[in-house]
Symmetry: D3
Subunit: 142 residues, 6 copies
Amino acid sequence: MVYITRKEIFSAAHKLVRHDWSDEKNKEVFGKCSNENWHGHNYTVYITVKGEVNPETGFVINLTEVSEVLHRKVIAKVDHKNLNLDVDFMQGILPSTENFAIAIWNELEESIKLLGGVLHCIKVQETEKNYVEYFGTLTQNP
Amino acid sequence: MVYITRKEIFSAAHKLVRHDWSDEKNKEVFGKCSNENWHGHNYTVYITVKGEVNPETGFVINLTEVSEVLHRKVIAKVDHKNLNLDVDFMQGILPSTENFAIAIWNELEESIKLLGGVLHCIKVQETEKNYVEYFGTLTQNP
Amino acid sequence: MVYITRKEIFSAAHKLVRHDWSDEKNKEVFGKCSNENWHGHNYTVYITVKGEVNPETGFVINLTEVSEVLHRKVIAKVDHKNLNLDVDFMQGILPSTENFAIAIWNELEESIKLLGGVLHCIKVQETEKNYVEYFGTLTQNP
Amino acid sequence: MVYITRKEIFSAAHKLVRHDWSDEKNKEVFGKCSNENWHGHNYTVYITVKGEVNPETGFVINLTEVSEVLHRKVIAKVDHKNLNLDVDFMQGILPSTENFAIAIWNELEESIKLLGGVLHCIKVQETEKNYVEYFGTLTQNP
Amino acid sequence: MVYITRKEIFSAAHKLVRHDWSDEKNKEVFGKCSNENWHGHNYTVYITVKGEVNPETGFVINLTEVSEVLHRKVIAKVDHKNLNLDVDFMQGILPSTENFAIAIWNELEESIKLLGGVLHCIKVQETEKNYVEYFGTLTQNP
Amino acid sequence: MVYITRKEIFSAAHKLVRHDWSDEKNKEVFGKCSNENWHGHNYTVYITVKGEVNPETGFVINLTEVSEVLHRKVIAKVDHKNLNLDVDFMQGILPSTENFAIAIWNELEESIKLLGGVLHCIKVQETEKNYVEYFGTLTQNP
């Protein structure tokens, strides 16, 4: 079993706010992230796929195909967009880094399986100081 | 003459759009950056001050004081904010990286002089791939 | 289960030396790290907490609270200090990166539990080339 | 159990091509990596060793000895070399990042055991965007 | 006057060898870089353009156009190629980092002028430890 | 004229304190850097040399020789040492980053000239957030 990872960077706006909460509660829980007029980040996403090495190609999976799927199903939808307003797979989801990583996992798991790989981890880095990792719900992970 | 630099990171939303232009023209000139619902970045700002070394302290300038000014006059106003809507010193200014660097220079030049230093460069990095440097209008720079 | 990580940087002095050993033995085992007059590093510490995502907030844990604990119980005690002489939770402990990571784990495990999270990993990077990871003694962690 | 990692960088040429395949097939599977006249990378290799902390030294393993083995058995053979032509432990192996990581593991596993450690992971980063991790075939990993 | 920089990464093979020199002389002058079977690097190129800010757009130059020129005239010719054998603008040039930076400058200077900018600097980073900067032959630079 | 830079990293302890000042004054001016029991950093030093490209070699200067001089005259004296106590060329000098950069310049200028190059800049990075650049006293340098 070998693990292979592809990294991509994109830029998006978001805010963390619940409209069923008062401004005070939003401020208390979400702090600066609840700024009414949005803020944004250069997000880095790491997609890790695991599998046996194909003896013919030396590849676990063809990274060019992983990259194509990642761009089509995620990057094209989020880059230079607003995570709260513009992204189909984030509708109705509070765009915390945790929820965003899970949503990217859900968006990609089947496509990676179709390419012959097993999705192992989605890592989303929001700032230089913070990142989140999600390994799915399967018991064999991490 | 020695040059000393302080780096800080913050996160903000913005968009590049002119309301006196058609959507097509905005799209043609500003591309993805004109997305109606905003996008954002982790911006890195580098402030470089030049001066003689004070023989008593070994310092060109006290970086703690530079950092305090930078936070009070810039970071506190832009971090987790919207550059088009929330920032006093960006009112009426199209928030390109170029204009943003110049505006930060104008915001800081006097304060650095009051601390006994000479502002040499404001560098603003918007993404991992793009950055802008501004050295003021004085003829001795860069 | 989602894993969330916070990174902080601080600067400290230390040396690796056993006073019950000869200078030769110290030199042989600890090499340059045994320099009598100390040396130092910019240490980077990564704290990883795991947990279920709270559906109300989208958070595993509030990172602002993690950061507050990390600063109060670790950073404030080690930043611009001497790990051998100045730090209460390192008394009597040889400040190798391994021992330092374990000591930080012990310092933080209970506080993270009080915040509703489970400490998963303390990673300490001492130089650009070397780092250590400690996952505690629980059997469920790799 | 503590995990300690050493990182090294080296530069090498390689190409991905199977001479039992047509040029078209090579192009289709390996893309730009099949360029007849080679290309190359600054490779980064991370070696992670796990073990108990020795109470006498505070070390899982002496990193100076790990570094010596890594240089003698890997870096000296691959730095400023051609992975397809010049490297004994890559003979007959297609130099994909996956195969390269496994070959480095095989080259180092015994030597690390002789130093009193257990090899946990070989990570090879080929470009800023791609890396591979191999944890051996033992059931307890990762 | 504002300076704007775009960064790109590519991977290439090369070697430093003069066929009018003995192997010993090549080894003495070029060291490991003269390895007969090539080696390679992940090169990073930074292109810096200077100019006045266009008050209509807030841009010194449209970076999308800079990026298009850089890809068409440089990256497409060197990425996953051999600098000694495959690159038209490097024919007859010893591919040291210095010569490579100058050749990239010559390849781009006119195109940048056509876009309305002035090329200020080509920086080429060959390894994490080494880089070269070229500012052209004009007297007003650096 | 081409500029070529070599980067090296080392680890050292230091403190900023004047014994002719009270503890209060030291604390006020030097803050955390005056901690009695030292602190330390992973310092990064960048040495930039300028010159014409030698048409025979494609080099401004042989970086292997620059590296040898840098290690012999600087790194060997400061790595895993105490800048206040252990370093001959820092005797009697307050080890601020500014003074340290100037001292490294003075240590290297003649040696670089003997190698046929002209020293252009010494840059010393003390933390991820702070660095200093010194270009000597010659009038032709910015």
